[in-house]
C-alpha cells in the first residue's frame, strides 16, 4: 500500500501541459498543500466567517452558536468551491472540496473522542489528588463524607481479581481455539469460526444474563466475583479468539514448512515455531481483550452484586469492579459521590490506556520480529541445538555430511553470529 505516495513517482506529466514532450519527468502532485490552495482555503475561511457574521447580525433572524458554526462551515465550503473553480476544472474542485470534507469528518470524530476522554479526566481532578482515594474502601464512608474519606481500593482490587480469573480462563481456551481454527481446517472449524465471529459483538448484558441463568439460578450459587469473572470470560472469549486467529494467519508459511520439512510433528511445529513467531501478536490480542473485559459494566452488574467493603475472596460474597463502582457512584445525587465516580472513571481509563500502550509496544512488530534480547535467546537456543545435533550424530553417521570430527566444535561458533530467527540450525548445512 505504500506505493501511492503523496506525490507519486510515476512518470506522469501534468495533464494540462501542452509541451509535455519537452518537459523533464516531474511527478504529478496528488493532494498536499499548494500555495494557491492554502491561499484560497484561508480566503474561503475568512469570507465564510464574515458572510455568516453578516447573516446572523444583520440580514436574517438566525441565532445560536451551533447554527452559526454550521452556516459558517457551509458558506466556507461554497466560497472555497468557487475560488478553486476560478483556476481549476470541475474534477479538481470536487477533489479539493471532498478533501476538506474528509478533514472535517476526521477532526469532528477525533475532537469528539478527545472531548469524552478529556472531560472525564478533567472532572476526575477533584477526587484523584487525595491519596486515600486509592488506599481506602467505601465501607466507612457515606455519601455525605468529603473526598478525604473513602476510596476505590475495593473496586480496583475487585477488577484485578475478576480480570485475573477471566484471563486464566480465556487465555488458554482462546489461544488453543485460535490454534485449532488455524491448524485443523475443515467444515467444523469453519463453523466454529463463523459462530465465534458472530459472537464478538455479543451484547455484554446477555453474557451477564447467561451466567446469571446458569451459575446463580440453576446451580444456586451466590453472586460473587467468580460469577462476574465467568461473565467477563464469556464476553472476552470470542474477542480474544478472533484477534488471535487473525494474528496466527499471518505466520509466514515458509517457517512452518521448514519445521515440517525437518520432520517435526505438528505439535512441535506449533509449539516451537508458530506460537513463538506470533507471540507479540498474541499478546496484543490478549491485552486488547483484557481492555474490553476490564471496562465492561453490565455483565458485572448482573453477577457480582454490590458491596462497599473490601472483599478479596472471589468465591463468596459480593464483589465490585471499577466500572460498576463508577456506575453506582454517579447514580447518587451527591456531588462528592459524582466526583468519586469521575475519579474512578479516570482511573479505569488510565488503566485501559496503559494496557493499550503495552499492547502497542509489544504488538508493534510484525510476526517473526524479535527484540534484541529475544534474538539473543533464540541464537543461544539455536547454538545449543546445533551442539546437540552434532553430538547426536557425531559417531560417523552420514545424515549430516559434515566431517564428524570437526562438527561439534566449529559449528556452534559459526551459527552464533547468525541471529535470523527464521533460520533453523539444521538449515546451515
Amino acid at each position: 500500500m505504500t506505493v501511492v505516495e503523496e506525490t507519486t513517482t510515476a512518470p506522469v506529466e501534468a495533464p494540462a501541459a501542452p509541451e509535455a514532450a519537452e518537459l523533464p519527468d516531474r511527478p504529478r502532485r496528488i493532494g498536499g498543500p499548494t500555495r494557491s490552495g492554502v491561499l484560497s482555503l484561508t480566503g474561503a475561511a475568512v469570507s465564510g466567517f464574515c458572510l455568516t457574521v453578516l447573516l446572523f447580525g444583520e440580514l436574517a433572524p438566525f441565532s445560536g452558536v451551533l447554527g452559526f458554526t454550521v452556516t459558517a462551515y457551509l458558506a466556507f465550503l461554497a466560497v472555497y468551491a468557487v475560488l478553486t473553480g476560478l483556476e481549476e476544472n470541475g474534477q479538481a474542485v470536487r477533489d479539493r472540496v471532498m478533501t476538506v470534507v474528509l478533514w472535517t469528518a476526521a477532526t469532528l470524530l477525533f475532537s469528539g473522542l478527545a472531548l469524552v476522554v478529556g472531560f472525564t479526566a478533567w472532572r476526575g481532578r477533584e477526587a484523584l489528588p487525595h491519596g486515600n482515594f486509592f488506599t481506602q474502601d467505601m465501607q466507612a464512608s457515606g455519601p455525605l463524607d468529603p473526598l478525604t474519606h473513602g476510596g476505590i481500593l475495593h473496586a480496583m482490587l475487585g477488577s484485578l481479581i475478576m480480570i485475573t480469573i477471566a484471563l486464566a480462563i480465556t487465555v488458554p481456551l482462546g489461544l488453543t481455539c485460535a490454534v485449532y481454527l488455524n491448524q485443523i481446517p475443515g467444515r467444523f472449524s469453519r463453523f466454529v469460526r463463523t459462530i465465534v465471529e458472530a459472537m464478538t459483538a455479543l451484547p455484554s448484558i446477555v453474557a451477564g444474563l447467561m451466567v446469571y441463568a446458569t451459575w446463580i439460578l440453576i446451580l444456586g450459587m451466590q453472586k460473587s466475583g467468580l460469577a462476574a469473572a465467568f461473565a467477563i470470560s464469556v464476553m472476552m472469549l470470542p474477542i480474544v479468539i478472533r484477534a488471535a486467529d487473525v494474528v496466527l494467519r499471518l505466520v509466514p508459511g515458509n517457517l512452518t514448512e521448514a519445521a515440517e520439512a525437518l520432520g517435526a510433528p505438528r505439535w512441535r511445529t506449533v509449539w516451537h515455531v508458530v506460537l513463538p513467531t506470533a507471540r507479540s501478536g498474541l499478546a496484543t490480542a490478549v491485552i486488547l481483550g483484557t481492555a474490553r473485559g476490564i471496562g465492561e459494566t453490565s455483565p458485572v452488574l448482573l453477577t457480582a452484586g454490590f458491596t462497599a467493603a473490601l472483599n478479596a475472596d472471589p468465591t463468596s460474597g459480593p464483589m465490585i469492579s471499577l466500572p460498576l463502582a463508577v456506575f453506582n457512584f454517579v447514580k447518587s445525587p451527591q456531588p462528592t459521590m459524582i466526583a468519586r465516580g469521575f475519579g474512578a472513571a479516570a482511573v479505569l481509563m488510565a488503566l485501559v490506556l496503559v494496557l493499550f500502550a503495552i499492547a502497542r509496544v509489544i504488538g508493534g512488530r510484525g510476526p517473526g520480529h524479535q527484540t534484541r534480547r529475544q534474538a539473543r535467546r533464540t541464537a543461544r537456543a539455536s547454538r545449543r541445538d546445533t551442539a546437540r545435533f552434532a553430538e547426536l550424530h557425531a559417531p560417523g553417521l552420514t545424515l549430516f555430511e559434515a566431517d564428524p570430527q570437526v562438527a561439534p566444535f566449529d559449528r556452534p561458533t559459526g551459527s552464533a553470529t547468525d541471529e535470523d530467527p527464521g533460520q533453523k540450525p539444521g538449515e546451515t548445512h
Binding site: M1, V3, V4, E5, E6, T8, V12, I30, G67, Q91, D95, M98, L102, A105, A106, L108, L109, F110, L113, V116, V117, F119, R123, C177, Y180, N182, I184, P185, G186, F188, V192, T194, I195, V196, A201, L202, P203, I205, V206, L209, M210, I218, V234, P238, G253, E257, E260, P265, W267, T269, G295, S298, L301, P323, V326, F327, A345, L348, V352, R360
Partner: protein, 349 residues
C-alpha cells in the same frame, strides 16, 4: 494464507477446497503414516477446545431460551406486541423496548457512519503520511474506551449542551413526525428545556461516538487493502485523489463499509450502561426521537433484574433472548457480506 493451506493439506481430511494445493500435490512423502501419538493427542486436544468454545457459545442461547420459556409460554405472540412491562400480572412485552433499542441504534448508526467513513478515508488516503500510524492507534484506543466513560460524558456534558440542537431540530423539522416534540410549538422560547433531555437522540449521539471508532477501524482496514495497482491505474488515467477514491477505494471497500456499519449496529443494539445512564425509561412506543423518554432492552434488564420475581426474571431472560437473536442476525449478515465481497482478508491471495 496459501502457505497455511499447504501444510494443512497434510491432515487426514485432505479436502479439495483448500486452495493453492496444486503445488504440493506431487509430494513424495506420505505424511499420514508419519503422524505419531503426540500429534494425535494434540489434534484431539485442539478439537476438544473447539468443541468447548462452541458449547459455551451455544450455551448462551440455550440457557437463555430455557429460562425464557416460562415467560414466553405465558404470553405467546403478544410478547412482541405489548408495550407495557408488568410481568407480575402477566402483561408484558418488548414492543416498546425493542423499538426503542432499534431507534437508538438507528440514530447512532446514522450519525456514526458518515463520520466513520470520512475518517477511515482520511486515514487511508488523505492524512499526511507520518500522521497515519498515530491516527490508527488513536482510533483503536478509542474503540477500547469503556462504555461507562461515554455514559458519564453523555449524562454530565452532552445532556445540557444538546438542548439547543434538539430545539432547533424540532423547531424547523417538527413537521417530520420523527422530530416532533409534544408540548412545544415552533419558535416558542419559553418551552421547558426538560422535554428535550434524556431522549433517544441524546442516547443515540453517545452511542454513535462509541461505535464510530469500531466502524472506522474495520473500514480503514479494508480501504488500505485496496489494490495499489488499481489506485495507480486511476492516477495514471488522470484521476484526482477524490476521483481515485470514488472509482477504486469506495467500490473495493463497499463490503467493509457495510460490514463495519453492521458491526457498529450490533454493538449499538447491545449497549447497556451508556444508554441506561442517559434515558428516562418509558414503556410506550416512542417514535419522537427528540422527546424525553425512551427505552432499550438492555437498560430494561439492567433496571429490573434486581427486583424481579422468578417469573419477572424469566420475562427479562426472554427480552435478553430477543436482543441476542437480533444482534446475532445483524452480525451474521455483516460477516457474510464482508466475506462475500471483494474486500477483506480473502482478497490478498
Amino acid at each position: 494464507m496459501a502457505a497455511t493451506h499447504h501444510e494443512s493439506d497434510r491432515t487426514d481430511s485432505d479436502r479439495p477446497e483448500s486452495d493453492g494445493s496444486e503445488s504440493d500435490r506431487p509430494a513424495p512423502r506420505r505424511p499420514r503414516a508419519a503422524r505419531g501419538l503426540g500429534d494425535r493427542i494434540f489434534r484431539l486436544q485442539l478439537t476438544a477446545t473447539g468443541v468447548v468454545v462452541l458449547a459455551i457459545m451455544a450455551a448462551v442461547g440455550l440457557f437463555l431460551l430455557l429460562r425464557a420459556a416460562q415467560a414466553l409460554r405465558a404470553t405467546g405472540f403478544s410478547f412482541l406486541t405489548t408495550a407495557e412491562w408488568q410481568p407480575d400480572v402477566h402483561h408484558f412485552g418488548i414492543a416498546a423496548v425493542l423499538s426503542g433499542t432499534v431507534l437508538i441504534a438507528a440514530v447512532a448508526v446514522a450519525l456514526s457512519v458518515p463520520l466513520a467513513v470520512g475518517t477511515a478515508l482520511f486515514i487511508s488516503d488523505v492524512a499526511p503520511r507520518p500522521l497515519r500510524r498515530t491516527l490508527v492507534t488513536m482510533v483503536d484506543l478509542m474503540a477500547a474506551v469503556p462504555s461507562v466513560v461515554y455514559g458519564l460524558w453523555g449524562l454530565f456534558f452532552l445532556q445540557q449542551h444538546v438542548i439547543g440542537l434538539s430545539r432547533w431540530l424540532s423547531d424547523w423539522f417538527g413537521w417530520i413526525p420523527l422530530f416532533t416534540v409534544d408540548g412545544t410549538q415552533p419558535g416558542e422560547p419559553l418551552a421547558s428545556e426538560s422535554v428535550y433531555t434524556a431522549s433517544t437522540f441524546v442516547a443515540g449521539i453517545v452511542v454513535a461516538l462509541m461505535v464510530a471508532p469500531i466502524q472506522c477501524s474495520v473500514m480503514r482496514e479494508v480501504f488500505t487493502q485496496a489494490p495499489a495497482g488499481e489506485r495507480e491505474g486511476a492516477y495514471a488515467l488522470g484521476a484526482t485523489r477524490w476521483g481515485m477514491i470514488r472509482s477504486v477505494v469506495l467500490p473495493y471497500g463497499k463490503g467493509g463499509i457495510i460490514g463495519g456499519t453492521m458491526l457498529g449496529l450490533g454493538r449499538a443494539l447491545g449497549e447497556t450502561i451508556a444508554v441506561y445512564l442517559i434515558i428516562s425509561p418509558v414503556f410506550v412506543i416512542q417514535p419522537h426521537i427528540l422527546q424525553t423518554g425512551s427505552n432499550s432492552v438492555s437498560s430494561l434488564i439492567a433496571l429490573h433484574y434486581g427486583d424481579a420475581s422468578t417469573f419477572g426474571m424469566s420475562a427479562l431472560m426472554a427480552a435478553g433472548l430477543a436482543l441476542f437473536l437480533l444482534t446475532l442476525a445483524v452480525n451474521f449478515t455483516a460477516s457474510s457480506i464482508v466475506a462475500r465481497s471483494r474486500s477483506g482478508a480473502q482478497s490478498e491471495a
